[in-house]
């Protein structure tokens, strides 16, 4: 199967460059949020009341639903505006990073410009929808 040749992305300061940078910086941001989550959890009695698996779930997404099944009895400290904000930040970075990643993987295997452009729009819509659903889950849990 021979695919048609196409132009590679241009160098310079453009959308693709910005997303390249966003992918790297959001990875660092997610590391930072996870480290903050783990450190705070260990200070908030995780050493006695949580397994490593529970701690990992909390690190990936600081949501009180990840605490209710552990031995932590009082989840007030795990259910604050601060953790909701951290959760929303994690969702923002992970969503942008993941769906842009999905777009760049798919675009590597698609040579028709119009399919690639419609995929970008579709993925943008999926990102908006999933972000709204995720924020709804975070603020109501």
């Amino acid at each position: 199967m021979k695919t048609k040749p196409r132009m590679a992305p241009q160098r310079g300061f453009n959308f693709d460059y910005l997303m390249w940078l966003f992918t790297r910086l959001s990875a660092l941001a997610m590391y930072l949020i996870a480290i903050i989550g783990i450190t705070a959890a260990l200070l908030m009695s995780a050493r006695q009341n949580m397994t490593v698996a529970d701690l990992m779930r909390w690190a990936f997404m600081p949501n009180p639903n990840h605490v209710v099944n552990t031995n932590v009895t009082n989840i007030d400290a795990w259910k604050t505006i601060f953790w909701q904000l951290m959760g929303i930040l994690m969702l923002f970075f992970a969503g942008g990073h993941g769906l842009h990643g999905l777009a760049s993987v798919l675009e590597d295997y698609i040579s028709h410009t119009w399919i690639r452009n419609s995929l970008r729009i579709l993925i943008l819509l999926v990102w908006v929808a999933m972000s709204l659903i995720g924020i709804a889950v975070i603020v109501t849990s």
């Binding site: 048609k4 698996a53 993941g98 990643g101 999905l102 993987v105």
Partner: protein
């Protein structure tokens, strides 16, 4: 100007990129696995939080709580996270690209024990021990 790409799928598969190519392929598979898992997980939480008489949330839960799916998703997550840190460091400090092969070895030395422990815990749990 721009480069012209003209590589068929078969030619692409035949490319012998060795270690770095393997991390590139696994990084892509891992990233896609995480996207699938996170999307399912957000949808499941949303459907179960808003109990519109729907058991779809619980059904989606049974997919990703299955221990065989967990073996796959933990591989995706740990590999993507550890390999991703290598990519970020080498891309943001390009002088280090000279040490890419060493960085990949280091990465496997970190990944294998971490994933090994996770595998042990998952399989022990999956076998009901």
């Amino acid at each position: 100007m721009g480069l012209k790409r003209n590589v068929s799928l078969i030619e692409g598969l035949r490319y012998q990129g060795k270690g770095p190519m393997l991390t590139y392929v696994l990084h892509r598979i891992g990233g896609l696995g995480i996207v699938i898992f996170v999307a399912l997980h957000i949808l499941a939480s949303w459907l179960s939080n808003h109990a519109w008489g729907s058991s779809a949330g619980i059904f989606i839960n049974t997919i990703y709580e299955n221990w065989i799916f967990q073996i796959f998703i933990f591989f995706c997550a740990f590999f993507h996270v550890i390999n991703g840190l290598r990519i970020v460091i080498l891309d943001l400090w390009p002088k280090l690209i000279e040490y890419q092969r060493e960085a990949i070895w280091l990465e496997w030395f970190i990944f294998i024990p971490v994933y090994g422990i996770a595998l042990f815990v998952i399989i022990r749990g999956g076998l009901g021990g």
